[in-house]
Amino acid sequence: MSIFEFLVGISYLGAATLFVVGLHKMRAPSTARQGNLISAGGMAIAVLTTIVFALVDFGGNWIGWAALVVGTAVGATYGIVRARSVEMTDIPQLVSIFNAVGGGAAAAVAFADFVANLSRPSVELTVSIPIVLDVLLGSITFSGSLIAAGKLQGVISGKPLTFPGSRALNVIVAVIALGAGVLLLIVPPNLLLLVVVLGASLIFGVLMVLPIGGADAPVIVSLLNALTGLAVAMAGFAIDSQALIIAGALVGAAGTILTLQMAKAMNRSVGAIILGGFGTGDSETSAGSESVDLTNVRELTADDVAIQLAYAKHVLIAPGYGLAAAQAQHEVAELAKLLTDHGIDVKYAIHPVAGRMPGHMNVLLAEANVPYDQMLQLDEANAAFANCDVALVVGANDVCNPDARKPGNAVSGMPILDVDRAKSVVVIKRSMRSGYAGISNPLFTDPKTGMFFADAKKGLADITIAVKEYVTA
Protein backbone atom coordinates (compact mmCIF):
# COMPACT_ATOMS: atom_id res chain seq x y z
CA MET A 1 0.00 0.00 0.00
CA SER A 2 1.57 3.26 -1.11
CA ILE A 3 1.12 6.66 0.54
CA PHE A 4 -1.19 7.43 -2.37
CA GLU A 5 -3.34 4.37 -1.74
CA PHE A 6 -3.35 5.35 1.93
CA LEU A 7 -4.80 8.75 1.07
CA VAL A 8 -7.34 7.08 -1.21
CA GLY A 9 -8.38 4.89 1.71
CA ILE A 10 -8.73 7.92 3.96
CA SER A 11 -10.99 9.76 1.56
CA TYR A 12 -13.08 6.58 1.26
CA LEU A 13 -13.45 6.72 5.04
CA GLY A 14 -14.57 10.31 4.65
CA ALA A 15 -17.20 9.27 2.12
CA ALA A 16 -18.34 6.47 4.41
CA THR A 17 -18.73 8.94 7.26
CA LEU A 18 -20.96 11.09 5.07
CA PHE A 19 -23.08 8.03 4.22
CA VAL A 20 -23.57 7.37 7.93
CA VAL A 21 -24.33 10.99 8.78
CA GLY A 22 -26.79 11.03 5.89
CA LEU A 23 -28.63 7.94 7.10
CA HIS A 24 -28.54 9.33 10.64
CA LYS A 25 -30.35 12.50 9.55
CA MET A 26 -33.08 10.29 8.07
CA ARG A 27 -34.42 9.95 11.62
CA ALA A 28 -36.48 13.14 11.44
CA PRO A 29 -38.58 14.27 8.48
CA SER A 30 -37.26 17.79 8.94
CA THR A 31 -33.64 16.74 8.32
CA ALA A 32 -34.22 13.70 6.11
CA ARG A 33 -33.81 15.50 2.79
CA GLN A 34 -30.59 17.14 3.93
CA GLY A 35 -29.43 13.68 4.99
CA ASN A 36 -29.97 12.30 1.50
CA LEU A 37 -27.99 15.18 0.00
CA ILE A 38 -25.12 14.57 2.44
CA SER A 39 -25.13 10.92 1.46
CA ALA A 40 -25.01 11.99 -2.20
CA GLY A 41 -22.01 14.15 -1.33
CA GLY A 42 -20.29 11.08 0.10
CA MET A 43 -21.08 9.27 -3.14
CA ALA A 44 -19.47 12.06 -5.17
CA ILE A 45 -16.31 11.88 -3.06
CA ALA A 46 -16.15 8.09 -3.40
CA VAL A 47 -16.57 8.27 -7.19
CA LEU A 48 -14.05 11.07 -7.76
CA THR A 49 -11.50 9.39 -5.51
CA THR A 50 -11.91 6.16 -7.43
CA ILE A 51 -11.46 7.91 -10.78
CA VAL A 52 -8.21 9.53 -9.64
CA PHE A 53 -7.04 6.26 -8.11
CA ALA A 54 -7.87 4.24 -11.25
CA LEU A 55 -6.16 6.76 -13.55
CA VAL A 56 -3.01 6.88 -11.45
CA ASP A 57 -2.67 3.21 -10.52
CA PHE A 58 -3.91 1.54 -13.72
CA GLY A 59 -4.43 4.19 -16.40
CA GLY A 60 -6.31 1.79 -18.64
CA ASN A 61 -7.08 2.46 -22.30
CA TRP A 62 -9.60 4.71 -24.03
CA ILE A 63 -11.99 1.91 -25.01
CA GLY A 64 -12.52 0.92 -21.40
CA TRP A 65 -13.11 4.52 -20.34
CA ALA A 66 -15.39 5.10 -23.31
CA ALA A 67 -17.45 2.04 -22.36
CA LEU A 68 -17.68 3.45 -18.84
CA VAL A 69 -18.70 6.96 -19.88
CA VAL A 70 -21.28 5.86 -22.44
CA GLY A 71 -22.66 3.23 -20.08
CA THR A 72 -22.91 5.74 -17.25
CA ALA A 73 -24.69 8.24 -19.48
CA VAL A 74 -27.23 5.63 -20.54
CA GLY A 75 -27.81 4.34 -17.01
CA ALA A 76 -27.99 7.81 -15.47
CA THR A 77 -30.55 8.95 -18.04
CA TYR A 78 -32.73 5.91 -17.44
CA GLY A 79 -32.49 6.25 -13.68
CA ILE A 80 -33.24 9.96 -13.60
CA VAL A 81 -36.16 9.69 -16.05
CA ARG A 82 -37.75 6.86 -14.07
CA ALA A 83 -37.16 8.69 -10.78
CA ARG A 84 -38.78 11.84 -12.14
CA SER A 85 -41.80 10.16 -13.72
CA VAL A 86 -42.66 7.39 -11.25
CA GLU A 87 -46.04 7.50 -9.50
CA MET A 88 -45.63 7.63 -5.72
CA THR A 89 -47.77 4.49 -5.53
CA ASP A 90 -45.20 2.66 -7.67
CA ILE A 91 -42.19 3.43 -5.48
CA PRO A 92 -41.84 -0.18 -4.28
CA GLN A 93 -41.44 -1.39 -7.88
CA LEU A 94 -38.84 1.25 -8.66
CA VAL A 95 -36.82 0.51 -5.53
CA SER A 96 -36.95 -3.14 -6.53
CA ILE A 97 -35.66 -2.32 -10.02
CA PHE A 98 -32.80 -0.28 -8.55
CA ASN A 99 -31.99 -3.31 -6.40
CA ALA A 100 -31.86 -5.41 -9.52
CA VAL A 101 -29.46 -3.12 -11.34
CA GLY A 102 -27.30 -2.72 -8.25
CA GLY A 103 -27.02 -6.46 -7.84
CA GLY A 104 -26.39 -6.92 -11.55
CA ALA A 105 -23.63 -4.31 -11.51
CA ALA A 106 -21.96 -5.98 -8.52
CA ALA A 107 -22.04 -9.33 -10.33
CA ALA A 108 -20.64 -7.75 -13.49
CA VAL A 109 -17.78 -6.18 -11.53
CA ALA A 110 -16.82 -9.48 -9.93
CA PHE A 111 -17.17 -11.24 -13.26
CA ALA A 112 -14.86 -8.75 -14.94
CA ASP A 113 -12.33 -9.05 -12.14
CA PHE A 114 -12.40 -12.81 -12.62
CA VAL A 115 -11.89 -12.46 -16.40
CA ALA A 116 -8.90 -10.22 -15.70
CA ASN A 117 -7.45 -13.01 -13.50
CA LEU A 118 -8.11 -15.79 -16.04
CA SER A 119 -4.57 -15.65 -17.38
CA ARG A 120 -3.05 -16.40 -13.98
CA PRO A 121 -2.46 -20.04 -12.91
CA SER A 122 -4.38 -19.60 -9.67
CA VAL A 123 -6.21 -16.93 -7.65
CA GLU A 124 -5.84 -16.47 -3.90
CA LEU A 125 -8.89 -17.51 -1.87
CA THR A 126 -9.02 -13.96 -0.49
CA VAL A 127 -10.04 -12.92 -4.02
CA SER A 128 -11.85 -15.97 -5.38
CA ILE A 129 -14.19 -16.39 -2.40
CA PRO A 130 -15.59 -12.85 -2.60
CA ILE A 131 -15.84 -13.14 -6.39
CA VAL A 132 -17.97 -16.29 -6.13
CA LEU A 133 -20.13 -14.88 -3.32
CA ASP A 134 -20.58 -11.66 -5.26
CA VAL A 135 -21.68 -13.42 -8.46
CA LEU A 136 -24.04 -15.62 -6.40
CA LEU A 137 -25.69 -12.81 -4.43
CA GLY A 138 -25.58 -10.32 -7.29
CA SER A 139 -27.33 -12.65 -9.73
CA ILE A 140 -29.95 -13.73 -7.21
CA THR A 141 -30.83 -10.14 -6.36
CA PHE A 142 -30.83 -9.23 -10.07
CA SER A 143 -33.38 -11.80 -11.23
CA GLY A 144 -35.24 -11.92 -7.92
CA SER A 145 -35.74 -8.16 -7.78
CA LEU A 146 -37.02 -8.06 -11.36
CA ILE A 147 -39.64 -10.72 -10.55
CA ALA A 148 -40.61 -8.86 -7.36
CA ALA A 149 -40.99 -5.64 -9.33
CA GLY A 150 -43.12 -7.49 -11.85
CA LYS A 151 -45.40 -8.78 -9.13
CA LEU A 152 -45.76 -5.34 -7.56
CA GLN A 153 -46.44 -3.81 -10.97
CA GLY A 154 -48.95 -6.55 -11.66
CA VAL A 155 -47.34 -7.67 -14.91
CA ILE A 156 -46.62 -10.94 -13.11
CA SER A 157 -49.54 -12.41 -11.18
CA GLY A 158 -49.50 -11.60 -7.48
CA LYS A 159 -50.62 -15.17 -6.87
CA PRO A 160 -47.87 -17.43 -5.52
CA LEU A 161 -46.78 -19.28 -8.65
CA THR A 162 -45.81 -22.83 -7.81
CA PHE A 163 -45.82 -25.99 -9.92
CA PRO A 164 -45.37 -29.61 -8.90
CA GLY A 165 -41.78 -30.19 -7.88
CA SER A 166 -40.92 -26.49 -7.85
CA ARG A 167 -39.44 -26.84 -4.36
CA ALA A 168 -37.30 -29.74 -5.55
CA LEU A 169 -36.12 -27.80 -8.59
CA ASN A 170 -35.29 -24.93 -6.25
CA VAL A 171 -33.01 -27.16 -4.20
CA ILE A 172 -31.36 -28.66 -7.29
CA VAL A 173 -30.54 -25.25 -8.75
CA ALA A 174 -29.17 -24.07 -5.43
CA VAL A 175 -26.95 -27.15 -5.18
CA ILE A 176 -25.63 -26.59 -8.71
CA ALA A 177 -24.83 -22.92 -8.00
CA LEU A 178 -23.06 -23.69 -4.73
CA GLY A 179 -21.31 -26.76 -6.13
CA ALA A 180 -19.89 -24.88 -9.10
CA GLY A 181 -18.92 -22.05 -6.74
CA VAL A 182 -16.96 -24.32 -4.39
CA LEU A 183 -15.31 -26.04 -7.35
CA LEU A 184 -14.17 -22.64 -8.61
CA LEU A 185 -12.22 -22.12 -5.41
CA ILE A 186 -10.11 -25.24 -5.90
CA VAL A 187 -9.56 -25.65 -9.64
CA PRO A 188 -7.54 -23.12 -11.68
CA PRO A 189 -9.54 -20.13 -13.00
CA ASN A 190 -12.31 -21.50 -15.23
CA LEU A 191 -14.75 -19.19 -16.98
CA LEU A 192 -17.32 -21.91 -17.74
CA LEU A 193 -17.75 -22.71 -14.05
CA LEU A 194 -18.40 -19.06 -13.24
CA VAL A 195 -20.99 -18.92 -16.04
CA VAL A 196 -22.69 -21.93 -14.42
CA VAL A 197 -22.74 -20.13 -11.05
CA LEU A 198 -24.16 -17.05 -12.76
CA GLY A 199 -26.87 -18.93 -14.63
CA ALA A 200 -27.90 -21.12 -11.72
CA SER A 201 -28.08 -18.12 -9.39
CA LEU A 202 -30.24 -16.21 -11.86
CA ILE A 203 -32.67 -19.12 -12.05
CA PHE A 204 -32.61 -19.49 -8.28
CA GLY A 205 -33.52 -15.84 -7.86
CA VAL A 206 -36.58 -16.32 -10.08
CA LEU A 207 -37.68 -19.51 -8.34
CA MET A 208 -37.19 -17.89 -4.95
CA VAL A 209 -39.51 -14.96 -5.59
CA LEU A 210 -42.19 -16.54 -7.83
CA PRO A 211 -43.95 -18.40 -4.97
CA ILE A 212 -44.19 -15.23 -2.87
CA GLY A 213 -47.51 -13.39 -2.67
CA GLY A 214 -47.60 -9.96 -4.27
CA ALA A 215 -48.47 -8.33 -0.98
CA ASP A 216 -45.38 -9.87 0.59
CA ALA A 217 -43.21 -8.48 -2.16
CA PRO A 218 -42.21 -5.34 -0.21
CA VAL A 219 -40.65 -7.48 2.49
CA ILE A 220 -38.74 -9.35 -0.18
CA VAL A 221 -37.68 -6.08 -1.81
CA SER A 222 -36.24 -4.98 1.51
CA LEU A 223 -34.50 -8.33 1.91
CA LEU A 224 -33.05 -8.17 -1.59
CA ASN A 225 -31.93 -4.64 -0.80
CA ALA A 226 -29.84 -6.08 2.03
CA LEU A 227 -28.47 -8.83 -0.21
CA THR A 228 -27.47 -6.29 -2.86
CA GLY A 229 -25.55 -4.44 -0.17
CA LEU A 230 -23.68 -7.60 0.75
CA ALA A 231 -22.99 -8.34 -2.92
CA VAL A 232 -21.47 -4.88 -3.29
CA ALA A 233 -19.35 -5.43 -0.17
CA MET A 234 -18.08 -8.69 -1.68
CA ALA A 235 -17.18 -6.84 -4.87
CA GLY A 236 -15.22 -4.52 -2.59
CA PHE A 237 -13.26 -7.46 -1.17
CA ALA A 238 -12.60 -8.78 -4.68
CA ILE A 239 -11.16 -5.54 -6.05
CA ASP A 240 -9.90 -4.37 -2.62
CA SER A 241 -11.98 -1.17 -2.51
CA GLN A 242 -12.90 0.08 0.97
CA ALA A 243 -15.59 2.31 -0.48
CA LEU A 244 -17.54 -0.71 -1.70
CA ILE A 245 -16.93 -2.69 1.48
CA ILE A 246 -18.13 0.05 3.83
CA ALA A 247 -21.13 1.18 1.82
CA GLY A 248 -22.12 -2.39 1.02
CA ALA A 249 -21.94 -3.48 4.65
CA LEU A 250 -23.90 -0.40 5.74
CA VAL A 251 -26.73 -1.22 3.35
CA GLY A 252 -26.56 -4.91 4.13
CA ALA A 253 -27.07 -4.28 7.85
CA ALA A 254 -29.61 -1.51 7.36
CA GLY A 255 -31.66 -3.58 4.93
CA THR A 256 -31.67 -6.55 7.27
CA ILE A 257 -32.90 -4.50 10.21
CA LEU A 258 -35.60 -2.88 8.10
CA THR A 259 -36.75 -6.27 6.80
CA LEU A 260 -37.08 -7.60 10.34
CA GLN A 261 -38.97 -4.48 11.43
CA MET A 262 -41.38 -4.85 8.50
CA ALA A 263 -41.96 -8.52 9.18
CA LYS A 264 -42.49 -7.77 12.87
CA ALA A 265 -44.98 -4.99 12.15
CA MET A 266 -46.89 -7.49 9.99
CA ASN A 267 -46.27 -10.07 12.69
CA ARG A 268 -44.93 -12.63 10.27
CA SER A 269 -41.56 -14.34 10.24
CA VAL A 270 -39.28 -13.59 7.30
CA GLY A 271 -38.90 -17.35 6.91
CA ALA A 272 -42.66 -17.85 6.56
CA ILE A 273 -42.76 -15.11 3.93
CA ILE A 274 -39.97 -16.65 1.83
CA LEU A 275 -41.64 -20.05 1.99
CA GLY A 276 -44.83 -18.40 0.73
CA GLY A 277 -48.06 -18.82 2.63
CA PHE A 278 -50.92 -16.39 3.07
CA GLY A 279 -50.58 -12.84 1.83
CA THR A 280 -51.06 -14.06 -1.70
CA GLY A 281 -51.72 -10.62 -3.06
CA ASP A 282 -54.96 -8.81 -2.60
CA SER A 283 -58.61 -9.49 -3.14
CA GLU A 284 -57.88 -12.51 -5.31
CA THR A 285 -57.18 -14.52 -2.20
CA SER A 286 -60.56 -14.20 -0.78
CA ALA A 287 -62.76 -14.61 -3.80
CA GLY A 288 -64.47 -17.20 -1.64
CA SER A 289 -65.43 -14.78 1.08
CA GLU A 290 -67.74 -13.00 -1.36
CA SER A 291 -70.51 -15.08 0.19
CA VAL A 292 -70.51 -12.93 3.33
CA ASP A 293 -74.10 -12.36 4.44
CA LEU A 294 -74.81 -8.63 4.49
CA THR A 295 -77.62 -8.99 7.07
CA ASN A 296 -75.93 -7.15 9.91
CA VAL A 297 -74.04 -4.70 7.68
CA ARG A 298 -75.26 -1.08 7.80
CA GLU A 299 -74.75 0.37 4.32
CA LEU A 300 -74.36 4.11 3.82
CA THR A 301 -74.62 6.53 0.89
CA ALA A 302 -72.24 9.42 0.19
CA ASP A 303 -74.88 11.72 1.72
CA ASP A 304 -75.12 9.77 4.97
CA VAL A 305 -71.33 9.93 5.34
CA ALA A 306 -71.30 13.64 4.49
CA ILE A 307 -73.83 14.43 7.23
CA GLN A 308 -71.93 12.44 9.84
CA LEU A 309 -68.72 14.25 8.93
CA ALA A 310 -70.24 17.72 8.67
CA TYR A 311 -71.63 17.51 12.22
CA ALA A 312 -68.56 15.92 13.84
CA LYS A 313 -66.01 17.81 15.96
CA HIS A 314 -63.07 15.40 15.86
CA VAL A 315 -62.46 13.22 12.78
CA LEU A 316 -59.67 10.66 12.34
CA ILE A 317 -58.97 9.27 8.87
CA ALA A 318 -57.41 5.78 8.76
CA PRO A 319 -56.05 5.16 5.26
CA GLY A 320 -54.97 1.74 4.00
CA TYR A 321 -53.83 -0.12 0.95
CA GLY A 322 -57.07 0.71 -0.84
CA LEU A 323 -56.15 4.39 -0.80
CA ALA A 324 -52.91 3.58 -2.59
CA ALA A 325 -54.56 1.14 -5.00
CA ALA A 326 -57.14 3.78 -5.93
CA GLN A 327 -54.54 6.58 -5.93
CA ALA A 328 -57.01 8.57 -3.85
CA GLN A 329 -54.47 10.52 -1.77
CA HIS A 330 -55.42 13.86 -3.34
CA GLU A 331 -59.16 13.24 -2.90
CA VAL A 332 -58.76 12.41 0.79
CA ALA A 333 -56.58 15.49 1.34
CA GLU A 334 -59.18 17.66 -0.37
CA LEU A 335 -61.97 16.29 1.81
CA ALA A 336 -59.85 16.78 4.94
CA LYS A 337 -59.09 20.36 3.96
CA LEU A 338 -62.76 21.08 3.33
CA LEU A 339 -63.70 19.79 6.78
CA THR A 340 -60.81 21.63 8.47
CA ASP A 341 -61.84 24.92 6.85
CA HIS A 342 -65.29 24.21 8.26
CA GLY A 343 -63.67 24.18 11.72
CA ILE A 344 -63.62 20.42 12.18
CA ASP A 345 -60.47 18.90 13.70
CA VAL A 346 -59.22 16.35 11.16
CA LYS A 347 -56.16 14.15 11.65
CA TYR A 348 -54.81 11.02 9.98
CA ALA A 349 -54.21 7.79 11.92
CA ILE A 350 -51.33 6.05 10.23
CA HIS A 351 -50.46 2.41 10.83
CA PRO A 352 -46.81 1.55 10.21
CA VAL A 353 -47.66 -1.20 7.73
CA ALA A 354 -50.77 0.28 6.19
CA GLY A 355 -50.50 -0.07 2.44
CA ARG A 356 -47.87 -2.24 0.87
CA MET A 357 -44.62 -0.87 2.18
CA PRO A 358 -43.64 0.65 5.53
CA GLY A 359 -44.50 4.30 5.75
CA HIS A 360 -46.40 3.94 2.45
CA MET A 361 -49.28 6.13 3.65
CA ASN A 362 -47.01 8.90 4.92
CA VAL A 363 -45.37 9.16 1.52
CA LEU A 364 -48.72 9.27 -0.31
CA LEU A 365 -50.23 11.88 2.02
CA ALA A 366 -47.04 13.92 1.92
CA GLU A 367 -47.39 13.90 -1.86
CA ALA A 368 -50.87 15.37 -1.40
CA ASN A 369 -49.26 18.09 0.76
CA VAL A 370 -50.76 16.86 4.03
CA PRO A 371 -48.68 18.61 6.72
CA TYR A 372 -46.56 16.09 8.55
CA ASP A 373 -47.87 16.89 12.02
CA GLN A 374 -51.43 15.92 11.03
CA MET A 375 -50.26 12.32 10.60
CA LEU A 376 -50.57 10.60 13.98
CA GLN A 377 -48.46 7.48 14.40
CA LEU A 378 -49.89 4.33 16.00
CA ASP A 379 -49.58 5.26 19.70
CA GLU A 380 -50.57 8.90 19.27
CA ALA A 381 -53.53 7.85 17.15
CA ASN A 382 -54.78 5.18 19.54
CA ALA A 383 -54.65 7.72 22.35
CA ALA A 384 -56.82 10.00 20.22
CA PHE A 385 -59.52 7.54 19.02
CA ALA A 386 -61.21 7.70 22.44
CA ASN A 387 -62.68 11.18 21.86
CA CYS A 388 -63.03 10.96 18.09
CA ASP A 389 -66.58 11.37 16.77
CA VAL A 390 -66.10 9.80 13.33
CA ALA A 391 -63.30 7.45 12.30
CA LEU A 392 -63.19 7.38 8.49
CA VAL A 393 -61.51 4.16 7.29
CA VAL A 394 -60.41 4.49 3.65
CA GLY A 395 -59.42 1.23 1.99
CA ALA A 396 -57.92 -0.15 5.17
CA ASN A 397 -58.79 -3.52 6.58
CA ASP A 398 -56.23 -5.65 8.44
CA VAL A 399 -54.61 -2.69 10.17
CA CYS A 400 -57.87 -2.00 11.99
CA ASN A 401 -59.11 -5.58 12.47
CA PRO A 402 -60.11 -5.96 16.15
CA ASP A 403 -59.56 -9.73 15.87
CA ALA A 404 -55.85 -8.94 16.12
CA ARG A 405 -56.52 -8.69 19.87
CA LYS A 406 -57.80 -12.27 19.86
CA PRO A 407 -55.40 -15.20 19.48
CA GLY A 408 -55.43 -17.83 16.77
CA ASN A 409 -55.93 -15.92 13.50
CA ALA A 410 -53.74 -14.52 10.74
CA VAL A 411 -53.40 -11.08 12.36
CA SER A 412 -53.34 -12.11 16.04
CA GLY A 413 -50.94 -9.97 18.01
CA MET A 414 -50.38 -7.45 15.21
CA PRO A 415 -50.58 -3.97 16.76
CA ILE A 416 -53.66 -2.28 15.26
CA LEU A 417 -55.40 1.08 15.05
CA ASP A 418 -58.16 1.03 17.70
CA VAL A 419 -60.69 2.37 15.19
CA ASP A 420 -63.45 0.46 17.00
CA ARG A 421 -62.91 2.70 20.05
CA ALA A 422 -64.16 5.76 18.12
CA LYS A 423 -67.71 6.97 18.78
CA SER A 424 -68.73 6.01 15.22
CA VAL A 425 -66.97 4.45 12.25
CA VAL A 426 -67.34 4.84 8.47
CA VAL A 427 -65.55 2.39 6.17
CA ILE A 428 -64.98 3.11 2.47
CA LYS A 429 -64.15 0.01 0.43
CA ARG A 430 -65.55 -1.65 -2.66
CA SER A 431 -67.00 -4.77 -1.07
CA MET A 432 -66.93 -7.00 1.99
CA ARG A 433 -63.89 -8.74 0.57
CA SER A 434 -61.00 -9.31 2.92
CA GLY A 435 -57.61 -7.65 2.75
CA TYR A 436 -54.08 -8.84 2.58
CA ALA A 437 -54.40 -11.30 5.43
CA GLY A 438 -57.45 -12.84 3.78
CA ILE A 439 -59.63 -12.90 6.90
CA SER A 440 -62.97 -11.29 7.68
CA ASN A 441 -63.11 -8.16 9.83
CA PRO A 442 -65.73 -7.84 12.64
CA LEU A 443 -65.29 -4.06 12.51
CA PHE A 444 -67.42 -4.01 9.34
CA THR A 445 -70.37 -5.66 11.11
CA ASP A 446 -69.98 -3.63 14.31
CA PRO A 447 -73.29 -1.81 15.02
CA LYS A 448 -71.58 1.58 15.19
CA THR A 449 -69.92 1.01 11.82
CA GLY A 450 -71.43 2.14 8.51
CA MET A 451 -70.07 0.74 5.22
CA PHE A 452 -69.85 2.94 2.11
CA PHE A 453 -69.15 0.58 -0.77
CA ALA A 454 -67.19 2.44 -3.44
CA ASP A 455 -63.82 2.82 -5.03
CA ALA A 456 -61.83 5.05 -2.68
CA LYS A 457 -61.13 7.73 -5.30
CA LYS A 458 -64.69 7.98 -6.56
CA GLY A 459 -66.26 7.54 -3.11
CA LEU A 460 -64.21 10.32 -1.52
CA ALA A 461 -64.98 12.66 -4.41
CA ASP A 462 -68.73 12.02 -3.98
CA ILE A 463 -68.50 12.62 -0.22
CA THR A 464 -66.64 15.89 -0.79
CA ILE A 465 -69.38 17.10 -3.14
CA ALA A 466 -72.07 16.10 -0.63
CA VAL A 467 -70.27 17.76 2.29
CA LYS A 468 -69.93 21.00 0.29
CA GLU A 469 -73.71 21.24 0.25
CA TYR A 470 -74.09 20.89 4.01
CA VAL A 471 -71.27 23.24 4.98
CA THR A 472 -72.33 25.93 2.48
CA ALA A 473 -76.01 25.41 3.27
Binding site: V20, V95, A112, D113, A249, L250, H360
Partner: protein, 106 residues
Protein backbone atom coordinates in the same frame (compact mmCIF):
# COMPACT_ATOMS: atom_id res chain seq x y z
CA UNK B 1 -1.79 -9.40 1.77
CA UNK B 2 -3.20 -10.73 5.04
CA UNK B 3 -2.69 -7.22 6.46
CA UNK B 4 -5.07 -5.90 3.81
CA UNK B 5 -7.52 -8.74 4.37
CA UNK B 6 -7.66 -8.02 8.09
CA UNK B 7 -8.10 -4.32 7.50
CA UNK B 8 -10.94 -5.03 5.08
CA UNK B 9 -12.60 -7.55 7.39
CA UNK B 10 -12.43 -5.13 10.31
CA UNK B 11 -13.92 -2.42 8.13
CA UNK B 12 -16.66 -4.80 6.99
CA UNK B 13 -17.67 -5.89 10.49
CA UNK B 14 -17.59 -2.40 11.98
CA UNK B 15 -19.61 -1.07 9.05
CA UNK B 16 -22.21 -3.75 9.71
CA UNK B 17 -22.41 -2.53 13.32
CA UNK B 18 -22.76 1.07 12.19
CA UNK B 19 -25.49 0.05 9.76
CA UNK B 20 -27.49 -1.71 12.44
CA UNK B 21 -27.15 1.14 14.92
CA UNK B 22 -27.88 3.98 12.53
CA UNK B 23 -31.07 2.36 11.24
CA UNK B 24 -32.53 0.80 14.33
CA UNK B 25 -34.18 4.05 15.46
CA UNK B 26 -35.71 5.40 12.25
CA UNK B 27 -39.47 6.12 12.60
CA UNK B 28 -41.71 3.94 10.42
CA UNK B 29 -42.90 7.16 8.79
CA UNK B 30 -39.59 7.34 6.98
CA UNK B 31 -39.10 3.65 6.23
CA UNK B 32 -39.86 4.00 2.54
CA UNK B 33 -37.53 6.95 1.89
CA UNK B 34 -34.95 5.25 4.10
CA UNK B 35 -35.13 2.03 2.10
CA UNK B 36 -34.74 4.06 -1.06
CA UNK B 37 -31.80 5.99 0.42
CA UNK B 38 -29.96 2.81 1.42
CA UNK B 39 -30.77 1.56 -2.05
CA UNK B 40 -29.04 4.59 -3.54
CA UNK B 41 -25.97 4.04 -1.37
CA UNK B 42 -25.29 0.60 -2.80
CA UNK B 43 -25.01 2.42 -6.11
CA UNK B 44 -21.44 2.98 -4.91
CA UNK B 45 -20.80 -0.17 -6.92
CA UNK B 46 -20.20 2.33 -9.72
CA UNK B 47 -16.78 2.79 -8.15
CA UNK B 48 -16.23 -0.86 -8.95
CA UNK B 49 -17.26 -0.23 -12.55
CA UNK B 50 -14.66 2.54 -12.73
CA UNK B 51 -11.93 0.21 -11.50
CA UNK B 52 -12.73 -2.54 -13.98
CA UNK B 53 -12.94 0.08 -16.73
CA UNK B 54 -9.38 1.14 -15.95
CA UNK B 55 -8.03 -2.42 -16.13
CA UNK B 56 -10.20 -3.58 -19.06
CA UNK B 57 -8.09 -4.83 -21.98
CA UNK B 58 -10.29 -7.39 -23.77
CA UNK B 59 -13.59 -7.16 -25.66
CA UNK B 60 -15.22 -9.22 -22.91
CA UNK B 61 -13.93 -6.77 -20.31
CA UNK B 62 -15.22 -3.79 -22.30
CA UNK B 63 -18.67 -5.32 -22.56
CA UNK B 64 -18.74 -6.13 -18.84
CA UNK B 65 -17.56 -2.60 -18.07
CA UNK B 66 -20.37 -1.19 -20.18
CA UNK B 67 -22.99 -3.41 -18.52
CA UNK B 68 -21.69 -2.61 -15.04
CA UNK B 69 -21.66 1.10 -15.83
CA UNK B 70 -25.23 1.15 -17.15
CA UNK B 71 -26.62 -0.78 -14.20
CA UNK B 72 -24.62 1.02 -11.52
CA UNK B 73 -25.35 4.46 -12.94
CA UNK B 74 -29.07 3.69 -13.06
CA UNK B 75 -28.86 2.61 -9.42
CA UNK B 76 -26.96 5.60 -8.09
CA UNK B 77 -28.63 8.39 -10.07
CA UNK B 78 -32.12 6.96 -9.95
CA UNK B 79 -31.76 6.11 -6.28
CA UNK B 80 -30.73 9.56 -5.13
CA UNK B 81 -33.20 11.39 -7.36
CA UNK B 82 -36.25 9.39 -6.34
CA UNK B 83 -35.29 9.60 -2.65
CA UNK B 84 -34.91 13.34 -2.91
CA UNK B 85 -38.24 13.59 -4.69
CA UNK B 86 -39.95 11.68 -1.92
CA UNK B 87 -38.30 13.68 0.84
CA UNK B 88 -39.07 17.01 -0.76
CA UNK B 89 -42.68 16.12 0.02
CA UNK B 90 -42.01 15.95 3.74
CA UNK B 91 -41.93 19.73 3.78
CA UNK B 92 -43.37 20.47 7.19
CA UNK B 93 -41.08 20.07 10.23
CA UNK B 94 -41.57 17.13 12.56
CA UNK B 95 -44.21 17.78 15.23
CA UNK B 96 -42.26 18.72 18.37
CA UNK B 97 -42.73 16.53 21.48
CA UNK B 98 -44.66 19.44 22.97
CA UNK B 99 -47.23 19.41 20.14
CA UNK B 100 -47.46 15.68 20.66
CA UNK B 101 -48.41 16.11 24.32
CA UNK B 102 -50.90 18.81 23.43
CA UNK B 103 -52.47 16.50 20.86
CA UNK B 104 -52.89 13.82 23.47
CA UNK B 105 -54.20 16.19 26.11
CA UNK B 106 -56.77 17.66 23.73
Amino acid sequence: MIETLFGNLAIFILSLLVGVEVISKIPSTLHTPMMSAANAIHGVVIAGAIVIASVANSPAAYVLTFIAAVLAAANVFGGYFVTDRMLRMFTRPHATPQDATEKVES
